[in-house]
């Protein structure tokens, strides 16, 4: 029980460090730690498949992509453009207003003191695979098309345009 609160504290701390650190590379590394704490949360919720996928996809693929782009654009320096203090202050105030709105909305909910009980077998690959390929077969195939489209789009966008060089 206390593991959850400790890991939640770590998540909030490293998420705050992610958005308040000046160096972008340090920011990415703090985000990796935040995602690792999210993996621990998934394990605590008995969602083993999601924990493994989160570990591989987020901490592996997406974070390597971010770090690769940061290194490629040579942004690993402290001369990072920052907004003025007034805008920062107003941003924090606006975020806190959003948080207060959320908490006020949750007070009305009827789920006050019910406990989250992780079912031992619900998050296994066997059960999730059955649900995924029986009830969600069409969205699964559509997501494959989405990934293909994103891949083609990313390659097309990041490719150097040679046609304008020939014309000009």
């Amino acid at each position: 029980m206390t593991i959850f609160y400790f890991v939640a504290f770590l998540s909030i701390f490293f998420a705050l460090m992610t958005i308040f650190t000046k160096n972008p590379v340090h920011s990415v590394l703090y985000l990796v730690i935040t995602f690792f704490t999210f993996t621990v949360h998934y394990i605590l919720l008995n969602a083993q498949f999601l924990a493994v996928v989160n570990f591989i996809v987020y901490m592996g693929a997406i974070m390597v992509l971010f770090l690769f782009v940061l290194m490629l654009l040579n942004l690993n320096k402290d001369t990072e453009p920052m907004k003025s203090h007034l805008v920062k202050f107003m941003g924090v105030i606006a975020g806190m207003c959003l948080l207060v709105t959320f908490l006020g909305a949750f007070r009305v909910l009827e789920t006050n003191n019910e406990f989250v009980q992780g079912h031992a077998d619900i998050g296994l690959v066997k059960n999730l695979g059955k649900v995924l390929f029986k009830d969600f077969l069409l969205p699964f195939e559509l997501s494959s098309i989405l990934l293909l489209t994103a891949m083609v789009g990313a390659v097309l966008l990041a490719k150097k345009e040679t046609r304008t060089n020939q014309n000009g």
Partner: protein, 109 residues
Amino acid sequence: MGNLLENMQGIPLNHYLIFCSIIFVIGVIGVLIRRNVIIIMMSIELMLNSVNLLLAAFSAYLGDPSGQVFVFFIMALAAAEVAVGLAIIIMVYRNTKSVDIESLNKLRW
């Protein structure tokens, strides 16, 4: 695994709601106060992850595996979004030599 299950017995759903809203709000604040486009995208990832965790918590609470399948789809969508977004950032950097969001104000009124 049984030990972990006993660890889970005492956490109310409200605490998951509060924790995930805090992480979401941190993501919103990150979008509002940073000017680096890459860090803004990282804040968006933070928001997506908080919603993922809340979906998984509700899935465990209701004993319904559909929530975890939704989380799986959101992860696939996030991977596609990051790939396209970073390609756009590289293209913008090639044109303006900067990742400052203020350099993209051509469409502002």
